[in-house]
């Protein structure tokens, strides 16, 4: 099912808050390799630094992910986008939106911020070409009024990249 809800401006529910605190502790004890959480006092928005894996097209490049958690996290997926400049990648739009199934239809509460990060890094690492998605211009134009990527109905077609 598509999650069509806009990212909620509502505060985190009690259960979401509890869960995120646990995730944060876990992250601090064992952060996924290649990622750094920039500590702020905002539990609802995480800014995470990604360093391209050695030996890949993005080696030594640093990007920033912005993760916004909805009121009913983890029942609802977080909104994950790259802050500008977004890496050049066939599944990453110039506005930072990422075409990755686990961020939308295939999200499950069994996943965590860590597991999302690992999937995104693996997506970057397996890229063989630094280029934008073919429909980049059309899509980004459609998003001009601040549409969340979670309002997009995504089609996922490519497991290789």
């Amino acid at each position: 099912m598509a999650s069509s809800a806009a990212p909620s401006q509502k505060a985190l529910s009690k259960i979401a808050c509890k869960r995120l605190q646990k995730e944060l502790v876990e992250w601090q004890m064992s952060p996924p390799t290649g990622f750094k959480h920039k500590v702020t006092d905002n539990l609802q928005r995480w800014i995470i630094e990604v360093i391209g894996a050695p030996g890949t097209l993005y080696a030594n490049e640093t990007y920033q992910l912005q993760v916004d958690f909805p009121e009913h996290y983890p029942m609802e997926s977080p909104q994950v986008i790259f802050l500008p400049p977004a890496p050049l990648h066939p599944h990453i739009y110039s506005n930072g939106h990422i075409c990755l199934d686990i961020l939308y239809d295939s999200w499950s509460p069994a996943m965590t911020v860590s597991s999302i990060c690992i999937s995104i890094l693996s997506m970057l690492s397996s890229s063989t070409e630094k280029q934008r998605p073919t429909d980049n211009d059309r899509y980004v134009k459609n998003c001009k009024n601040g549409r969340s990527p979670k309002e997009t109905r995504w089609w996922f077609h490519d497991d290789k990249v």
Binding site: M1, P90, D105, W155, H157
Partner: protein, 305 residues
């Protein structure tokens, strides 16, 4: 484990009012409006009220005589149907309500003690599989809390109306559905060798991929694999009654059902529970609702075991 009734998938009549299957198409992305079916599904509450079987017949008034004939048979065996929303979670939600309702009505403390032992086994299984505790513990806690609330005598014991309300409240209902999804995925992964051939036959994916894409995300529809795994993991038998257009070779119309009896049920217990599982679901292609048997009437056995 395959559905022997060989359901007719493109049967528009049966599929009407039932949830949508999502098409995955070629292309990286596209922007679309929510589908008609999704909007329709959202109008139905997570869990409806009890309705007489005549409300089911009304859906098929101009429809297949076989279906109407079958509904007539159901009407003689079942007193009511309770519908669930066709949002892909209908099997788990039907199971949830049916089970908790049974506990509320029977006040069967021994059954609650028994299932709690199984729930703890499921927790250990997930830990052994490498799931992080915090991903599932809130869901487990909420289910156990419902069991305690429902057994009368405790300070917080709840009424029938409260159980219905909770089952319609997203913040409880969806969490319990997700609890069942964890339990189901844990069982499938733990007994991967057993489930693998069925999964390969159904979707041509690995056990891991199947759990990640068809069990763990909310809204993913359930198949016989999910039902078998949940029934085994929790040790709860489930009867599924099939309403479809299939008919017997002999020409007579009968309504088939299948009992999912948990593995490890010994013969003695089997005999005791063989009469009828206390959970009965009605399956129409793509959707599950809850059925209530008539207390006085023994269901005619067309059991396929």
């Amino acid at each position: 484990m395959q559905n022997e009734n060989d359901t007719v998938k493109d049967d528009a009549e049966l599929a009407a009012s039932i949830s949508a299957t999502q098409e995955k198409e070629w292309g990286c992305c596209s922007v679309q409006e929510p589908s008609f079916q999704e909007e329709e599904a959202a109008k139905v509450p997570y869990l409806g009220d009890k309705e007489p079987l005549s409300s089911l017949a009304a859906e098929y008034q101009a429809g297949s005589p076989i279906l109407l004939e079958k509904i007539k048979i159901l009407d003689s065996q079942y007193v009511a149907i309770r519908r669930t929303r066709g949002d892909g979670n209908c099997f788990f939600r039907s199971f949830m309500f049916s089970y908790l309702e049974h506990i509320l009505e029977s006040q069967d403390g021994a059954e609650v003690d028994r299932i709690k032992v199984n729930v703890e086994k499921c927790r250990k299984a997930l830990q052994n599989l490498g799931y992080t505790d915090f991903t599932f513990e809130d869901f487990f806690a909420l289910f156990l809390e419902q069991l305690d609330d429902i057994l009368q005598g405790g300070e917080e014991s709840i009424s029938y109306d409260e159980l219905v309300n909770r089952s319609r409240d997203q913040s409880v209902s969806d969490y319990i559905v997700m609890f069942f999804r964890f339990v189901t995925a844990g069982e499938i992964r733990t007994r991967a060798e057993f489930f693998e051939p069925f999964i390969t036959g159904l979707s041509n994916t690995t056990v891991d991929q199947f759990c990640k894409t068809s069990v763990e995300p909310m809204g993913e529809e359930s198949d016989h694999i999910h039902i078998t795994a949940l029934s085994d993991a929790l040790g709860v038998a489930i009867r599924v009654v099939y309403l479809d257009r299939s008919s017997c070779d002999t020409g007579g119309v009968t309504v088939n059902h299948h009992d999912f009896v948990p593995v490890g049920t010994n013969d003695e217990k089997k005999e005791a529970s063989a009469a009828a599982p206390f959970i009965t679901l009605l399956y129409r292609p793509g959707h599950y609702d809850i059925l209530y048997p008539k207390p006085s009437c023994k269901v005619l056995d067309n059991v396929e075991k």
